[in-house]
Symmetry: C2
Subunit: 147 residues, 2 copies
Amino acid sequence: MSLIFSRSCEYALQAVIYMARVENGKPVHLRTISDAMSIPHHFLGKILQILTRDDIVQSTKGANGGFKLGRSASEIRLLEIVHSVDGATSLDKCIMGYPECVDDKPCPLHDEWKKSKETIMKMLRETTIDKMTEGLDSKLAETAATH
Amino acid sequence: MSLIFSRSCEYALQAVIYMARVENGKPVHLRTISDAMSIPHHFLGKILQILTRDDIVQSTKGANGGFKLGRSASEIRLLEIVHSVDGATSLDKCIMGYPECVDDKPCPLHDEWKKSKETIMKMLRETTIDKMTEGLDSKLAETAATH
DNA sequence: GGATAAACAGACTCTTTTATCTGATACAAT
DNA sequence: ATTGTATCAGATAAAAGAGTCTGTTTATCC
């Protein structure tokens, strides 16, 4: 089973969450994030470049540089990050790979899968980064902090 | 976005459905299936070898050989095929890729994702091949037949 | 037994994803 | 201005997934 997000996308989410939490206005170094999340830093660099291009994060070069969120955490939606990194969603492709599978000529799993798909899409569309960090301090806080 | 089944697994499902439908006890040639479903036949060959090893399909060599289901369609579950081809499900891994994400120290998407996961797993566990072919004749029949 | 027709098996190629390396560029502090 | 520290960018490498090729084995039919 493959599953939903590519590795790159997982890293992107982790990094964005990290920035949203640590944030106090100041940019965070790539290296700080990659060390904390155990992500190869060159690889994360590439990913953050993409997010920068799409204005999800903002970068500053040179000393005192680093990365921070491009806008308020309440204005960044999960789906944007996924789209930015993984491209257009493949959630609308047939789960069984039938090329001709459509609503009125469905594959055997079409209707059931459609429900799951819509639930997932709703989650991606409606979840903003601030909502994701909300409940976090009581839970993952120690983990993220000690990394 | 990646998504749920690998290409190989999609092919496996298509092939099994095909066998379940065409079936009248007689084995079907690899080539017949691959042509009908537009699957590279060598590639499908590999996949059917795996399914054969796991007793999901049964093969006979030589003239009049071919593939047929290893047991009754009502005794083959979707999840078996997925496991056979794609290996142990990755549905239990954290959607965000956090290695330390568990129920009592969850990632921000844990609870919502858990619901979707369980719905999908339920579908995979409970759907048998005969259920999948049931509604099919009125729908995909023409497509599959004309291939 | 020989010819034929199928699955089986292993090596190989191509593509995509993931990861690494190296140098250039930009910024800040002194 | 020089130095140090950061991101940026492009080329490259390694690994995994998808697909191909060639030959072997096994069964059936004549």
